[in-house]
């Protein structure tokens, strides 16, 4: 899952980037409103974390612009403005959630999870496919009753595929949603990641498999 953070405090931005990357998200960052707008219009983000008081283009103006152009990416506002009026204004402009600074990191991560679930039309913190279970809250996965030992990026890949069962997922889709602008994506990066994931999914009684559609992409399927 790919997240955009628009935050002008460099220190906070650095911490949030670290935390979200460590959790397994691809993260892009912008320190002003114009850069954030450009990134949001150029990439398919799953969630945008938006500070309201941004230089060059305020958070509310950015949000307004995004919604006017039909961008439906869930937006979580992060701001020091805690007055009811500010919150109402933010939510009415099209934000999906609002978090006042200073906030607890766990709460932020939980809200991001919730927004992602909402985006993908599920309410449960568990994704199930055959005997594969993904726990989105703890970022863990079980297959055939066994816990899979996954790196954050591998977990993100599996979660992304599981959220689209039986659907062809192209390499471009995977790149766009799982790798941020700072990631070096070589021609075989995706194949290597898929290969590593397949290996880790090789367990007794495996019912879920990643199939390759040559030249097209990958499909996650159940085979009993």
């Amino acid at each position: 899952m790919r997240i955009l953070i628009a935050e002008d405090s460099r220190s906070l931005l650095r911490s949030l980037q670290t935390a979200l990357r460590k959790t397994g998200y691809a993260v892009d960052a912008a320190e002003d409103g114009e850069a954030a707008c450009w990134l949001a219009e150029s990439n398919p983000y799953d969630v945008i974390l938006l500070d309201l008081m941004l230089p060059k283009l305020s958070g509310l103006e950015l949000l307004h612009r995004l919604r006017n152009t039909g961008n439906q990416t869930p937006v979580l506002i992060l701001t020091a403005l805690d007055a009811v009026d500010d919150r109402v204004k933010g939510l009415k402009t099209g934000a999906d959630d609002y978090l006042t600074k200073p906030f607890a990191l766990e709460e932020l991560l939980a809200r991001v999870e919730a927004l992602l679930r909402r985006k993908h039309g599920t309410r449960s913190p568990h994704l199930r496919l055959g005997n594969l279970t993904i726990h989105t809250a703890s970022h863990t996965a079980e297959l055939g009753g066994r816990q899979l030992s996954l790196q954050p990026r591998e977990y993100a890949l599996l979660e992304y595929l599981t959220s689209r069962p039986g659907t062809l997922v192209t390499r471009t889709d995977i790149e766009a949603h799982l790798y941020d602008e700072n990631s070096e994506v070589f021609s075989n990066t995706i194949d290597s990641a898929i290969c590593m994931l397949r290996k880790k999914m090789t367990v007794p009684n495996q019912e879920v498999f990643i199939r390759t559609r040559k030249g097209l992409g990958y499909v996650l399927e159940v085979q009993t």
Partner: protein
């Protein structure tokens, strides 16, 4: 209203009492005049004759003296005390021989036979002289001098007075009740606009001040100036509230941002304790955030201290030396950013002021000029001292962003040209502090844009400098 009715009631009681007394006196005087007239008539009856004194009316008795129920009485004495005659109406009773003259008779209230109240008049007089050769003198010592006491039943008078009294009391009560009702109604009608005004003012609070305006269309002419002044006061209060809200919000933002940075950095480090890079960054981030926090809180505290401080330590200060000391503290920063400082300063500038406060002012002015100048820019500082010991310090630096509209907010606490408040180095308190201290020192500070590319700050020790350019 009760006080008004009480006052009206008291005045009515006093007025009614006076009115009653006047009526009582007039009726009594009229009664006494009637008594006197009758007495004078009675004194004409006795005559001195050869064979003694003749009382004409004893021979032809007057009917009003015959029966007690007719209510008139008389008794005549000779000067020696011998009763010469008395009315049949007295029966066995007697009247008291208290008397005066016909010109100055004695009137008194008495009890008549049968216990009724009466009023009597007593006069001494000489009877009519009938015989020329009879030795009748005009002297009161004359053997023919007489005393006449005439009395009349005053019950009708008392009844009349009682009716008058009752009439006055009843009229008074009715008038008092009417007055109360009229006063109540008039006051209620008269005070209705004031009550509506009071309700309007009562309904105001800090949240409803924004668009509040006292309506004057239902008010009579007299309270309209009050309503207008109230609207003006509400406007001023609203501005003050807005300023306070803005300040509170800015303070919250200035404090929340570093707190948020600290909290998130700490939580990240706690969540991934084995990541050495995160741990390394935490120390650096903590130091940056704490420094920012310290900067904000330190300046806020200094501002509060200066706003509430009372005493000043004024003594002779060399402003040129103080400036040189300030400049030397910033020399390294000037060098790092290749800034040029052009100074026009006298060799010595002795003034009477508080050197500690002046140092804070100079620090903030120079820091402000440096921070908002691009690298390599020239900052110009000029000090001029007049013959009357007043002085003027002018700081000029390149203007990169300010407009004329910004100048009026420049000295507001925590105001920033950048509404996103991104910079962590500045919190917008430096110039507010300068303004507060300048006011304490009796100086003026103002900003202007002599041309669009130059920003000028002027610190003026003379009061003539109070202007906003």
């Amino acid at each position: 209203m009760i006080a008004l009715i009480m006052s009206t009631g008291t005045l009515m009681i006093l007025g009614s009492g006076t009115f009653y007394i006047l009526i009582e006196r007039a009726l009594l005087t009229q009664f006494d005049q009637a008594l006197l007239m009758k007495t004078k008539m009675l004194t004409l009856f006795p005559e001195v004759e050869r064979d003694g004194i003749s009382l004409e009316f004893t021979e032809r008795p007057l009917p009003e003296f015959e029966r007690p129920e007719l209510g008139e009485y008389y008794q005549i004495w000779l000067h020696g005390g011998t009763v010469l005659s008395k009315s049949h109406s007295l029966g066995n009773a007697s009247l008291e021989p208290q008397y005066g003259t016909l010109e100055n008779p004695v009137f008194r209230n008495i009890q008549l036979p049968g216990g009724r109240a009466g009023r009597a008049i007593g006069v001494g007089f000489l009877p009519t002289k009938e015989i020329k050769n009879h030795a009748v003198t005009d002297s009161p010592e004359s053997p023919f001098a007489m005393i006449l006491v005439f009395a009349r039943d005053r019950t009708p008078l008392d009844h009349l007075l009682t009716e008058v009294r009752l009439g006055i009391i009843m009229t008074g009560c009715i008038l008092l009740a009417l007055t109360g009702w009229i006063v109540n109604r008039t006051l209620r009608n008269g005070l209705a606009p004031i009550n509506r005004l009071t309700q309007e003012v009562e309904s105001l609070d800090a949240h409803s001040l924004t668009s509040a305006q006292i309506t004057t269309n239902h008010l009579p002419a007299e309270p309209i100036p009050i309503a207008t002044e109230l609207t003006s006061l509400i406007g001023r209060l609203n501005e003050a509230f807005q300023r306070e809200r803005r300040l509170t919000s800015d303070i919250a933002h200035e404090i929340n941002t570093p707190l948020s940075e600290l909290r998130t950095a700490s939580e990240v480090a706690m969540k991934w304790p084995d990541d050495s890079e995160i741990t390394r960054n935490l120390a650096q981030q903590t130091l940056e955030s704490v420094t920012n926090l310290q900067n904000v809180t330190g300046k806020l505290l200094e501002l509060a201290r200066q706003q509430n401080a009372l005493s000043l330590d004024r003594y002779e200060v060399d402003l040129a030396a103080l400036w040189a000391e300030t400049r030397s503290r910033y020399a390294a920063k000037f060098q790092n950013r290749k800034l040029v400082l052009n100074e026009i300063f006298p060799a010595k500038a002795l003034i009477k002021s508080d050197s500690v406060l002046l140092r804070i002012v100079l620090d903030n002015l120079l820091e402000n000029a440096m921070e908002y100048s691009p690298d390599g820019a020239a900052i110009r500082c000029t000090l001029s001292v007049s013959a009357d010991d007043s002085w003027r310090l002018v700081m000029e630096n390149p203007n990169t962003a300010l407009s004329h509209a910004d100048l009026e907010h420049l000295f507001e606490p925590l105001w920033r040209h950048d509404s996103s408040r991104t910079s962590s180095k500045h919190c917008g308190l430096g110039l507010a502090l300068v303004k507060t201290i300048a006011a304490r020192l009796g100086m003026n500070v103002y900003a202007c844009l002599p041309d669009p590319d130059t920003f000028r700050l002027v610190l003026d020790s003379s009061n003539e400098g109070s202007r906003t350019k």
